[in-house]
């Protein structure tokens, strides 16, 4: 631990000022100059303190976003079967671990390095940042790392219960080192040394409905399509069968953790400690609440009973959707976005399941892909400055649509290619026998719930 030291940096500033002014004050005519020096000292002090506050805030927000990893792990574990629990846990642990390293070494540079127009080209392994200093760079890196980790982890849920472990590891490297960073550089590159065509257009995605969630969601979609559904998911006539998750308590805990972490995700994206963060926390919370409520009522209408898994998904849908506009829409706007996402997610899950026959065990595509796109578009309507409903015309909506579309093309397209290549090389899916017995024994040689008697007939 470090001792409470004597604010050396600030003192230094004051000292310089003291020297300057002591000098200048000798002459009456230099009073104004002295004053200017005084002002400069004040400005420097203010910047230095506010900078420290920003660092504290951004770090705390980053830690909250990190904690979302636990949320994803719990949601995905809870919504799948007991026999695949160890596997889904390992995938969640490993995508973040491998992803952190890959993003540090390569991804960050592609995303935030000086751009060649398409992606960044320097700052690999943070070359250029002082490894013993107090630069903002490190705070920025940890914040961006946990964002990359979020994008990476979305996919595991949609591909759960049938994907080979080493295939998943391979995927994890690519998303954090390449797919996510390149798209990210288009929308957020200028936050550091880079610059991107999407942000230059005026694309608004404050905390990443598209950049993080939709990209993850569309990759998940590609994965689920290439993999095909789990055995038993569709009967011979193609009707979907429910394969219920094994632990709703843990899934609910996961959702609460994600909601908690989102208070780092959205307000934290200010990377600046001032009154905006309270307002963003309000819009974030209201959207989540509206999402949960509307998803519940929608499921009640559609299936006669209020479905817990849908209500939980609804909260996440609201959160994903508000992420783009959390700083730009009003609280009432956030209720609208959240409510829309809550309804949309139930419909989307059902349509993907019954119409498109895409088997997404945890609803990742609907929550992150569909609601992420929805939320990004809604900014075009509800931005309090330039949204359509606020008299801003169609321009922003158009730009948002371009952003959404480019996210889909990039992530879904690359996803298809990547997963096909993996299938051809390391192989993508476990054997039928392993799938029936569970990936826990097949891939990891252990069980998740040793000693518990589990109906082994499902």
């Amino acid at each position: 631990m470090k001792k409470k030291k004597l604010y050396i940096k600030h003192l230094l500033l004051l000292l310089i000022l003291g020297l300057l002014s002591g000098n200048l004050y000798a002459q009456d005519s230099t009073a104004a100059a002295a004053n200017a020096a005084n002002d400069a000292a004040l400005t420097a002090l203010s910047e230095s303190l506010q900078n420290n506050l920003n660092i504290v805030w951004t770090c705390v927000a980053a830690f909250l976003v990190f904690f979302m990893q636990a949320g994803f792990a719990m949601v995905e574990s809870g919504f799948t079967r007991a026999k695949n629990t160890v596997n889904i846990i390992m995938k969640n642990l490993m995508d973040f671990s491998i992803g952190s390293i890959a993003f540090f070494l390569v991804g960050f540079a592609l995303m935030f390095g000086t751009t060649n127009g398409f992606f960044g080209t320097d700052s690999f392994a943070m070359a250029g940042s002082d490894v013993a200093g107090k630069d903002w760079d490190w705070t920025f890196l940890i914040f961006q790392t946990v964002f990359a980790g979020t994008a990476a982890t979305i996919v595991s849920g949609a591909m759960a219960e049938r994907t080979k472990f080493n295939a998943y590891l391979t995927y994890s490297v690519f998303i954090c080192a390449f797919i996510y960073p390149v798209f990210g550089s288009w929308a957020w590159g200028s936050l550091f040394k880079g610059s991107g065509w999407l942000e230059n257009l005026g694309f608004v995605d404050f905390a990443g409905s598209t950049v993080v969630h939709s990209v993850g969601g569309w990759l998940a979609l590609a994965g689920a399509i290439i993999l095909g559904p789990r055995i038993g998911k569709y009967d011979p006539e193609g009707n979907p069968k429910a394969i219920p998750g094994h632990n709703i308590t843990i899934a609910a805990l996961g959702v609460f953790i994600l909601w908690f972490g989102w208070f780092g995700f959205n307000p934290g994206s200010t990377t600046f400690g001032d009154g905006d963060i309270g307002r963003i926390a309000v819009t974030t919370n209201l959207a989540a609440a509206a999402g949960a409520v509307l998803a519940m009522f929608t499921s009640w209408l559609m299936f006669k009973k209020p479905d817990a898994s849908m209500a939980l998904n609804g909260a996440l849908a609201g959160l994903v959707a508000i992420t783009a506009g959390c700083a730009n829409v009003s609280p009432i706007g956030s209720l609208v976005i959240g409510a829309g996402a809550g309804m949309l997610v139930v419909i989307s899950v059902t349509v993907l399941d019954s119409v498109f026959k895409i088997d997404d065990p945890v609803g990742a595509v609907s929550v992150h892909g569909v609601c992420g796109a929805f939320g990004t578009l809604m900014v075009g309507l509800l931005d309090v400055n330039s949204g359509l409903f606020y008299g801003g015309g169609l321009q922003l909506l158009g730009i948002q649509a371009i952003g959404v579309a480019s996210g889909f093309v990039w992530a879904f397209g690359l996803g298809l290619i990547l997963f096909v290549i993996i299938r051809k090389t390391v192989g993508l899916r476990v054997t039928e026998e392993e799938e029936l017995r569970g990936l826990d024994i097949g891939e990891h040689g252990m069980e998740g719930y040793n000693g518990f008697q589990i109906f082994t007939t499902q």
Partner: protein, 113 residues
Amino acid sequence: MKLVIAYIRPESLPAVKQALFEREIFKISVTNALGCGQQKGYHETYRGADIEVTLLKKVRLEIAVNEDFVQPTIEAIIDGAKSGKIGDGKIFIQSLEECIRIRTGEKGKLAIG
């Protein structure tokens, strides 16, 4: 000696136990089971997809008794488990050739109680 096996609704176990005790049948063994009988399953929905639960949760009783206790045992089970609705369950009776108390090595009628 007979071995009485019964499948009943989980909810009725306490009543059956009570009814058996009143007839001084104190020894029973219980396991969980899934049953498929006349009682139609129920439908759960999960995320909008249907689950047809055709295997219903039941409790299986196994009671070894001497001949003179067979009738009381049957009565007690019916007493405790009969609601008149489909799904009340079944009783099966088999002959039992031998019974041994592990602790003492006692055999037959003596060992049962």
